[in-house]
Symmetry: C2
Subunit: 290 residues, 2 copies
Amino acid sequence: MDDISLPVDGSPGSAPRTDSGAGPRADTSITRVFGILDLFTPDTPVWTADLLMEQLGLARATIYRYVRALCDAGFLAAVSGAGYVLGPRFIEFDRSIRLADPLLQIVPPVMAELRDVVNGGQLLCAFYGLRVLSVLQDKTDPNITMSMERGRPFSLFTGSPSRVILAHLPPYQLRNLALNHQKEIAAAGLGEGWQAFRDNMRAIRRTGFVAASDIDKALIGISAPIFQAPGAVSASLCLVRTKENAPPEQVAFLGELAMKAAQRISRELQAFRPVRADRTPLSAPVSRVR
Amino acid sequence: MDDISLPVDGSPGSAPRTDSGAGPRADTSITRVFGILDLFTPDTPVWTADLLMEQLGLARATIYRYVRALCDAGFLAAVSGAGYVLGPRFIEFDRSIRLADPLLQIVPPVMAELRDVVNGGQLLCAFYGLRVLSVLQDKTDPNITMSMERGRPFSLFTGSPSRVILAHLPPYQLRNLALNHQKEIAAAGLGEGWQAFRDNMRAIRRTGFVAASDIDKALIGISAPIFQAPGAVSASLCLVRTKENAPPEQVAFLGELAMKAAQRISRELQAFRPVRADRTPLSAPVSRVR
DNA sequence: TGAAATTCCTCATATTATGAGAAATATTTG
DNA sequence: CAAATATTTCTCATAATATGAGGAATTTCA
């Protein structure tokens, strides 16, 4: 449960796949257009039409058609002379998501209350299908959680925030994951095969929280699940301390603390807006694993 | 110069058009896929396949093909039962943009220094083609700049941050704008026709800053231009105060303050990474107006 | 575990995306 | 401000592939 895994920072790579047995996706024009965006990374934030032609092996006219569509939609922006960069739409959509997310209204005051007791850092992570994302961080110790700011992605199988979410997924989703991601699950030390995996997850549910050091080995994260509806995990609260500052009894204490706070957040979340009768979740709904 | 304009918050609407004389864009499959994303607003954050079919008038299979492509790319995420929400990719891309933006490393300490003197709020706005976006805010007075957080869009013609950028665009870009956006320019009180517009912009450049109250009438914003390269505006720094707290001589003082700070930021920005010899801007480049 | 919903697949047809080169703009320089 | 250069868009014939309908396979929830 305390294995060694690389901190997955899968920004540039290709899109997350459903991987539900089938092979790679078809190569449609939409796929190709999205593929262009994948090229724009912090390391190579500017691309010219010529570079894109070369990189993607497409005709000039095609590249310009794609780039134009992306610019019109605000996903790219043209820059002086030649070249394109990621456009304003991403910044706007992130704001739109923040505005619609009740967790970002509920959690900050809770984090503020816990701040002194935790004496480290706090993280709010949201569940998005096959990955988990940091969506809010509260820093006390400036040495801690440097790279955990909003948008930092985590594998669904690595790190305490992910694992505690994983453990509380519905049984059939767990089964699908066990089938389709056997290797990753084994590599993360979560069990070889469905039986072991299921038992490990059950053990986590019994405990109610997860403590792990598998992202940053100098730190320990203690995470509890947040439920958008009874039985439906959608996020987790993670308390962070330096490992040397967290002896076993402190870990147990922080676990209780995280669980209490997460339960409170869950209650407020479920009361935030009355769930509509017709089963359509209104906000911050639970992502499915495909 | 102190006219009445609505605070433009154009998030949900359609994509920004180049509008360079031509009519509306072609209706390609890529356009339609992007159109789906436009439906996901803070007011209607969850859409089911059936609702999308009804709204867009497309066949079931087509909707599912589109939705799948968007989910695979992380732009949508499936939620419990049925329904889709905006996906994690927007949050990740915003982070990616933040990581690559030297302004976000340079400006915070400058804002911290100014904080006490300004005694109000501060805004860093970035230029993206036809629009300007808040990308960083520093709040002192909690009553001020409530809705100016990162991602808040502004029209290129409204508000002091936009106008001071506008005024410093290259001459041919100003001319294009005067041709293609005559009505908006007139409506914003920036002049009827090219001559008047050009003169107004020249006057702003002479002054070096813009003071205006056209976004929130209770506030006054005082903005100075930030240059990514000599002669190439890419952003603006805006100092905000309540109007009653800003008599004329204070406005002049804040104008000087904003200009000095913006010049300092520009210097640091241009020194941040040596501009490459081949004219390809490396980071935070200047958007073109199309 | 079984019933009800959601999602995906198959296939024939019609639509439209593609590439090459020329024309039109935009941008920089004198 | 005008000429020179680089960038972007357009046109059109052809090949490719997106679309819709219904049935099959999943997923979801009781």
